[in-house]
C-alpha cells in the first residue's frame, strides 16, 4: 500500500510540473502510466485523470494569479465556449462515430504542431508579438494584456487578435473533452497561441486556469458513477497540486523558445496517438 502511495505521489508530482509548464493538464501523462504500467481499466484512468486536470489547474492558478501571468478576461470569455462545447459533447456522446472524431482532432493537432515548428524556426522569440494588431472584438472585450517575463527580464505587452477563430477552436476543444473524455489542454493552448496570437506563457497559464473549469463540468459524472478511485486519485492529486505549484514557478523562468521545444514533441505524440486510435490502434 505504501509503495503504491509513493508511486502515485511521485507520478503526480511529475505530471503536475510538466502539465503546469505547458498548460495541458497532465492527464495525458498520467493515463498511460495508469493503464499500461499499472494495468488499470481505461474508464478508471479517465475518471482519475479528470481529478489530475483539476489539481493541476488549481495548483498552477494560485501562483500564476500572484504573478499576473494569466489573462482572466480571456479565460472567462473563452470558458463560455469550452463549457458549452463540453456539455454539448457529453450530450452527443454515442451519436457520432469516435473513430472519425479521433482522426479529425489528430489532424488538427498535427497541423498545429507544424505551425509551432514554423514559429520556432522563423521568428526570434522576443519579436514574436511585434506586429500583432488587435481587432475590434478584442478591444471591445478588453482582452489585451501584459506580463513580466522572468526569462527575458522584461515586461511584455501583447495584443489579441482573431477572437471569433479562438472562440470556435475553444468550442472544438470543449467538444473534444466532452466526446472523447480528454482534457484537451493542448487545443486550448493552440487556440490562444496559434489563432489568437497570444504569447506562449500567458497562453499556457490561461489554459491552466480554464482547464479546471472545463474539467469540473464533467467531473461530477465520474465522481458519482464511481470511476474515481480514492486510493489512486487522492495521492495522485496531492502530488499534482505540489507539482503544479513548482512547475508554474519554473515556467516563468524558462525561455518561451524552450517551452515551445518541449511542446512540439508532445503535440506530435498526441496527434499520432489520436490518429492511430481512430483506426483502432492503441499506443
Amino acid at each position: 500500500m505504501i509503495a503504491n502511495l509513493l508511486l502515485m505521489l511521485v507520478t503526480g508530482l511529475f505530471a503536475g510540473i510538466l502539465g503546469s509548464i505547458l498548460g495541458i493538464g497532465g492527464g495525458m501523462i498520467v493515463t498511460p502510466i495508469l493503464t499500461i504500467a499499472m494495468g488499470l481499466d481505461i474508464k478508471y484512468a479517465i475518471g482519475t485523470s479528470i481529478i489530475v486536470v483539476i489539481a493541476t489547474s488549481s495548483g498552477a492558478t494560485i501562483s500564476f494569479l500572484k504573478d499576473d501571468m494569466l489573462n482572466l478576461r480571456v479565460a472567462m470569455f473563452l470558458e463560455i465556449a469550452t463549457t458549452v462545447g463540453a456539455v454539448t459533447g457529453a450530450a452527443l456522446n454515442g451519436w457520432i462515430p469516435k473513430s472519425v472524431l479521433y482522426v479529425l482532432f489528430s489532424l488538427l493537432l498535427l497541423q498545429s504542431c507544424y505551425n509551432m515548428v514554423k514559429k520556432l524556426l522563423n521568428k526570434p522569440a522576443t519579436a514574436e508579438q511585434a506586429v500583432i494588431q488587435p481587432d475590434y472584438l478584442s478591444q471591445k472585450l478588453r482582452l489585451n494584456g501584459s506580463y513580466y517575463d522572468k526569462a527575458l527580464k522584461q515586461k511584455v505587452d501583447y495584443q489579441v487578435k482573431n477572437v471569433p477563430g479562438g472562440f470556435l477552436m475553444m468550442l472544438a476543444a470543449g467538444l473534444a473533452s466532452g466526446l472523447l473524455g480528454i482534457g484537451s489542454g493542448a487545443f486550448k493552448v493552440i487556440a490562444m497561441d496559434n489563432i489568437m496570437r497570444m504569447p506562449l506563457k500567458p497562453s499556457s497559464a490561461t489554459s491552466n486556469l480554464m482547464m479546471g473549469v472545463t474539467a469540473a463540468a464533467s467531473a461530477t459524472v465520474y465522481f458519482f458513477n464511481g470511476t474515481i478511485l480514492p486510493n489512486i486519485a487522492v495521492p495522485l492529486a496531492l502530488g499534482v497540486v505540489f507539482g503544479a505549484t513548482i512547475g508554474s514557478r519554473i515556467m516563468q523562468h524558462l525561455h518561451p523558445k524552450v517551452i515551445r521545444i518541449i511542446f512540439i514533441p508532445i503535440l506530435l505524440y498526441l496527434g499520432l496517438q489520436m490518429f492511430l486510435k481512430g483506426f483502432g490502434v492503441n499506443i
Partner: protein, 121 residues
C-alpha cells in the same frame, strides 16, 4: 489605475482559491493518514462511497475512503469557487460586461455539474 485594480482582483481570487486548495489538500492528507493508520480503506474490496449520504456517514465514522472522497470532491469544487469569486471581483470593479460573462460560465457549469450528478446515478 485600471491595471492596479485588476491586480487586486487577481490577488483576492488567488487568496480565496489558495484557501480552497489548502482545505481540500488537508482533507485528502487526513484520509491518507487514516488509511495508513487503519491499514485499509474501511470498505469491502473494490467498493467506495459515491453518494453524499454514504460519504457523510463514512466521514463521521472516520472511514479513510470516505474522507478521501470528500477531499476529492472539495478539490472538484475549487474551480467553481474561483468562478464565483471572479463574479464578485468583476462586480467590485464595476465591469458589468464581465459580470455577465462570468455569470453565464457559472450557470453552464452548474447545469453541467447537476446533470453529471443525475447521469452518474
Amino acid at each position: 489605475m485600471k491595471k492596479d485594480e485588476m491586480c487586486d482582483i487577481e490577488l483576492l481570487i488567488g487568496k480565496i482559491l489558495r484557501v480552497g486548495v489548502i482545505v481540500s489538500v488537508v482533507v485528502m492528507v487526513l484520509g491518507i493518514v487514516l488509511m495508513l493508520v487503519q491499514g485499509q480503506g474501511g470498505y469491502a474490496a473494490k467498493t467506495y462511497p459515491t453518494t453524499f449520504a454514504a460519504i457523510f456517514r463514512g466521514v463521521v465514522q472516520l472511514k479513510p475512503y470516505a474522507v478521501m472522497m470528500l477531499g476529492a470532491f472539495l478539490l472538484i469544487l475549487t474551480p467553481v469557487l474561483r468562478v464565483v469569486v471572479s463574479i464578485y471581483a468583476f462586480l467590485k470593479e464595476k465591469d458589468y460586461l464581465y459580470v455577465a460573462i462570468t455569470t453565464i460560465v457559472l450557470i453552464i457549469l452548474a447545469i453541467a455539474m447537476i446533470g453529471g450528478y443525475f447521469a452518474g446515478h
